[in-house]
Every structure is written in structure tokens, then in C-alpha cells.
Symmetry: C2
Subunit: 395 residues, 2 copies
């Protein structure tokens, strides 16, 4: 280990920890927000106070190996044409596909926009779950395509039979079927038999996008990745991201695995606007399987502990295979989200039609303890009380 890494090693901190420490002291750049009833507040200082359980982020940050790789890539900060660390080949090799099956994106969000550009022109239809990750539906609205949103079953899992029915009924106009697996916001999986059934039941020319952003957290024998369907030549696009298990959400790197012909269809619409440093971070993240295993284990432990605590208090949660879960508040989540925020815990957002359910991301040990403490504070009488305790002033 040489140079910067050695220097940082000498003080016992990774670059990530070092930067975070400085941030907690509020030393970095950033504007100050004026507040009518007090002195201006530093947004970075305010942010650091919060338990951050609203965005399904990895609370631990990228691994040391990833931080080193990104710091080593600063030399390309000013370049367009530079060696990219072999990111495409590394992804292909890691997933047992060919480089021609990979399309790189600035986060998997770009994949969700690409499918709209290519497969959902004016008047075409996307069929998906409701609720699910909403970006595809938003882009669809932009491009004047339409969405058929299929309600979840009573156990909050995907209603594959209804999705098949809607797809076949409108097959001439369906441009895309969208599945998020595990689903966001419910955290549960679409089981492998259901995916097989879907693919075997709808017209084979209809593209199916399977968003596996939370793949790495799953520990469930009924789940499997849909990458093998790509290898079979099915018109399946599997979206993946470095934002979750690899903790690179702020650095924007994702990709899709798809048949060569579909990569060719989507490629011209890709922005190719991925930062030079995160390409190196991504290559390092794929190699750092020990960190990945650690992240998965810590997430599972804290998620299961927290949902067990809620269950003990009498609350219903949806069994989750992701780094977030939903709890049934039995009242509209809006005011409760505000109560949490007043107590420096960020949770939510709203996922209609599940308006009584709160999505909670799995943060650090400390953050999950704070969440449970505040939860008990807001609901001192448990789920059967008439009303939660809400306050006007916060704490």
C-alpha cells in the first residue's frame, strides 16, 4: 500500500471515514439555510444529525478497496478518453455473460429511462406492479406512453396471474413488462416460479425489465436472478446497481444485462455520462466479495432485529429480503413521517396506495435503535391505540 492510502492508513481511517469526520465538524463547503426563527443552519450539520432511513442507502459507505480505487482514478477527473479500468469486461466476467451483453449506466435509474426511450414510445403500455419503484411510470408519463398498474395480492406479493392477463389482453400495445425483484417498497421477492410463469405466458417478443437493485441482500430459496433468461436469448433486461450493496449511490453506476440485440437497441440512447472515478470503484467493488458478504450479514441482522422488536410491540411488517421493510401504521403515514423527522429520523416516503404503510431503510445499529426508540415515543400505546402521539413543536 503506497501513497495516499498509506498516509490515511497511518491515522487509522479510510478516506471515507476521514471525510465523514470532517463533515460532522461542518467544515466542508455548502450554503447555509436561513430559518425564520433562528440563526442560519449549516445543511451539512443538520444532515449529519439525522438517522437516514428514507433512501435505502448503505450506511457504511464504500469499502476501503473501493475508496482506494476511486482515489487512484482522480488522475482521469479531467479526461473524456481514458482507460476505464475494464469495467464492462469485469461486470461481464463476474456475471458469466459477454461484454456485448452489458450496457453501462449512471445508476440503474438510467436503465429505467432507456427502456422508456426505446420500448415505450407514444401510446405504448408498460405493465407493472402497484406499488413498485415509480421511475418507469414517471418516464412513461413524460413520453406519453401509458401504465397498467396491477395491484399486489393480499399478502403484498406480485399478482403475476393478473399481470399476465393484462399483458395478453393488451399485447399489441404493451411495450414493456416491469418487475422489481425484490420489490421496492415492499421488500419481498417475486418468486422464481412466478417469473418463469410470466415469461412462458406472455408473447415472447415483449421485453421484460427485471430490476434487481436489491439482489445482493436476498437470502431466500424461492428467489433467483433472471440473468439465465438473458443467456437463453429471452427478451429480458436485468438491471443492477452499485448503489446498494457497494454503497456507491452518490457516485452513480449501474448496468443492465440483456441480449446483444437489446443492448444494440438501447445503446444509442445511453448518455455514457459516468464518472471516471466510479468506473474504477465499480471494478474494485466486484472483487471485494468479503465486504459484500459483511454488508449482507449486517443488513440482515439489523433488519430482522428491528422487525422482531416491532412484532413484539404488536406491529405488522412485511417479510423483507431487502435493505428496507414496511410496517403497517394503521393510520396515514404522512403525519407520522413528519413526527419522525421532528425527532431527527428520516423515514418514508409515501407509496400509494399503501398509504398506511411506512417504508423504513435499514441503517446502522445506532440508527435502528434510534428508530425503535422514536417509534415507541410516537406510538406509546401500541398498534391498538386510537391515535398516535403527535406533537406540534417536535423535540
Amino acid at each position: 500500500m503506497g501513497g495516499l492510502a498509506a498516509t490515511l492508513g497511518a491515522v487509522g481511517l479510510t478516506p471515507f471515514e476521514l471525510a465523514a469526520q470532517r463533515g460532522q465538524r461542518g467544515a466542508a463547503a455548502g450554503g447555509a439555510a436561513a430559518k425564520p426563527d433562528g440563526p442560519p443552519k449549516d445543511p451539512q450539520v443538520e444532515y449529519e444529525k439525522m438517522a437516514k432511513l428514507a433512501n435505502n442507502e448503505n450506511p457504511y459507505g464504500p469499502s476501503e478497496a473501493v475508496m482506494k480505487a476511486m482515489n487512484d482514478a482522480w488522475k482521469y477527473a479531467n479526461r473524456y478518453g481514458y482507460p476505464d479500468g475494464g469495467i464492462r469486461d469485469a461486470i461481464a466476467e463476474h456475471h458469466g455473460v459477454k461484454p456485448e451483453n452489458i450496457i453501462l449506466a449512471a445508476g440503474s435509474g438510467e436503465i429505467l429511462k432507456l427502456v422508456d426511450d426505446v420500448y415505450l414510445p407514444d401510446h405504448k403500455i408498460v405493465v407493472g406492479m402497484d406499488p413498485t419503484y415509480g421511475s418507469v411510470y414517471q418516464y412513461t408519463t413524460n413520453s406519453k406512453a401509458k401504465a397498467i398498474k396491477v395491484a399486489l395480492k393480499k399478502d403484498y406479493t406480485a399478482d403475476i396471474d393478473a399481470m399476465i392477463q393484462e399483458t395478453k389482453l393488451h399485447s399489441r400495445d404493451v411495450g414493456l413488462v416491469y418487475l422489481c425483484n425484490p420489490n421496492n417498497p415492499t421488500g419481498n421477492i417475486v418468486n422464481k416460479a412466478d417469473i418463469k410463469k410470466l415469461l412462458n405466458s406472455i408473447p415472447e417478443e415483449i421485453p421484460v425489465l427485471i430490476d434487481e437493485a436489491y439482489h445482493h441482500f436476498v437470502d431466500n430459496p424461492n428467489y433467483e436472478t433472471s440473468i439465465p433468461y438473458v443467456l437463453e436469448g429471452r427478451r429480458v433486461i436485468v438491471a443492477r446497481t452499485f448503489s446498494k450493496i457497494a454503497a456507491l449511490a452518490g457516485m452513480r453506476l449501474g448496468f443492465a444485462i440483456a441480449p446483444k440485440e437489446m443492448v444494440g437497441e438501447m445503446g444509442p440512447f445511453a448518455l455514457s455520462s459516468i464518472s471516471s472515478v466510479v468506473k474504477y470503484g465499480g471494478v474494485a467493488a466486484l472483487k471485494d466479495t468479503a465486504y459484500e458478504a459483511k454488508m449482507k450479514a449486517m443488513n440482515k441482522q439489523l433488519r430482522d432485529r428491528t422487525t422482531a422488536e416491532l412484532k413484539q410491540l404488536g406491529w405488522e411488517t412485511i417479510p423483507s429480503d431487502a435493505n428496507f421493510f414496511m410496517v403497517n401504521l394503521k393510520t396515514d403515514m404522512g403525519p407520522i413521517q413528519t413526527e419522525f423527522q421532528k425527532r431527527n429520523v428520516l423515514v418514508g416516503r409515501r407509496f400509494s396506495p399503501m398509504d398506511n404503510w411506512l417504508r423504513v431503510s435499514v441503517g446502522s445499529d445506532d440508527e435502528m435503535k434510534r428508530f425503535v426508540t422514536v417509534f415507541k415515543e410516537i406510538f406509546p400505546n401500541g398498534p391498538d391505540a386510537k391515535k398516535p402521539t403527535t406533537s406540534a413543536g417536535g423535540i
Copy 2:
């Protein structure tokens, strides 16, 4: 100065220089390319050998203040929702507009895609120069819109009268007029009187995108930014980037300044996929006016010295106000580009119909000396010789 910056300061290197040094030693990640007639080569080592004059990059890298700001923002590498350093407000204030006039993008390239999404649906027409920066035309092809490419005048400047004529002739179908100012690849400006004439002559509802990526290098009394037209409420979009003067090409940050209603039209199509660290880098870059002035002066000195040397050898160049220039090779540029590459100098690419012209980016002092040396080697007898010296084997 504390923490990381102090540590780096102690060894007398910026993080950028430090990382670049490590890169030259080939220590960082990256695959090795096999070569049929030799041992595998490290793409990073090969890249470092090159004089990089092909991509209009800033050879000096981001300023120390920008590097510090980016390193301080690593703590947000794992976040989606984080304080963004006030980048939108900082850009607005710096340019004398309101935050509602700003649309952020992952490089100004995203702006060029956004205008296609919004203003160039199927069968619409974009009117622009030929040659110019080709991205808008490429996106137009993707979306099945059409391009009317207006040839430059004999002095290689924009033919504004012809552009007005084409726009008026097809006014019902023109979705956008595109100007790159200074123009890429020619490096010359569209003078302020011509822009005024264009805006006063075409139907006022037609959006005009003015790409000012190279704005900061211009030193010409006939040039002015088109931002004032936005303030007047004209349907003008001014695109800017942090890729050039601020040397952040690899980090992907740009923006557009446009009337509020146009920001509203384009906003839903923006990916919002900008890295957390570069938002902080951008804020720091806007403040670092001393570095900007230094970059501008160094570019001008090396550009003017190099073109003067070429002129003395009898070669014609187009007077440039940018960080690149064109030289008339009097022969097809393709084989010459290859000859340069064999000698470790990256120049070009092809900009048809100007196939006899070579675009040369302004690099460092050393790179420009290497360029002139190699130029003389390829053309030992000057511009009037029948044929340049080409070699099969390289050196």
C-alpha cells in the same frame, strides 16, 4: 487547511498530482490488453505515454480547491439524499440568474439529449451548422427527428443568413436551432451581431440552444454570452459545462440556463444522475476565479504559439477562441491521425465535410512541443510537398 489536504500539502502535491504520479507508475486497477506481437500492455501505462490532444480536455486537472472540495464530499458517496453544497444556487448567483433558470446535468451532453427528448419528437427538425459538435444530430437520428445542416461560410464561420432562411422555410417543423459558440471543431466564435440577427429573424417560439462549452477561453470583442437573452425571456437555452476550464470532464457536470418555463419542460426528462462529489467540486470551481484566469492564459499562450509555429511553416489554421484549433493538412486527415498516433500523439477526430482539416486540442507545454516535432516529422517538406511522410511501422 486540515485533515487530508494538510497531509497532502506536507508532501507538496495536490491529490490530483499524487494520483497522477501513481498512475504513471501503473499501480492502479485496470485490465491488460493482449497484443499479438508482444507481452500484454497495461492500458493505463500506454495512455500515460500519449500526448492527449484529441478531446479538448484541460491538461492541468482540477484546481487544488476543487480537489479538496471533492475529497471532502466522499462522505456522500453512499447517499441519494444529501446536502448538495448549494450547487444550483451557486451557479445561479454566479451567472446573475435565478435558481429556477438552472437545470443541472451530468455534463452539458445531457442538455443536448434533453432538448431532443423535449423539442425534437418524431419528424421535427433541428437546424444547425455543419460541421459542429455532433451529439444533437446523433440524438435526433435516434428519435427519428431530422437535421438540416447548414454549411459554414468560406471563412469557416457560421452562415447565419442561411440558417435563418432554412428555419423560416421549415418554420412549422423546426423544433430547435442549435449553435455551438465558440464552434467545435472550428474553434471560432459566432459573433454577437449574428446571434442577435438570428434571434430577431426566426419565429420567437422556436427554441434556440446555444452551447457555450468553450465560453471561458474566449478573448474576442465580437463575442458575448447569450445568457442575457434568457433574462429577456427569449426561448434560449444556454448550455455550459465544468468539463473544460474547470477540468472536470471525467466527473460529468454541466448545466443549462433557460427561461423558467423551459426548465419546467426539460426538468422531468433529466436523469438527475450527477455524482455527489462533483457537485461540491463545481461549487469550488465557480469560486476559484484565479485558477480559471490561469487556465485561460496558459491555453491562449500555448495555442497562439503553436499556430504561429505552423503558420511559419506555411500551414493554414483557423483563428481560434477555444482550447483547440484546426489546421488544413491539404490531404485527408485519416492517415495523418494514424501517423500521429504511431508517434504517441492523439489528435483528430474526423469532422466531415472538413476531411482535410485536423482538430488539435491545446495540451500542456510539453505536449504542444511534441505535437510540433511530430508534425514536422510527418510533413518534412511543408504544405506544398506532394505527399506527407507516412510509415508502416511507426517509431
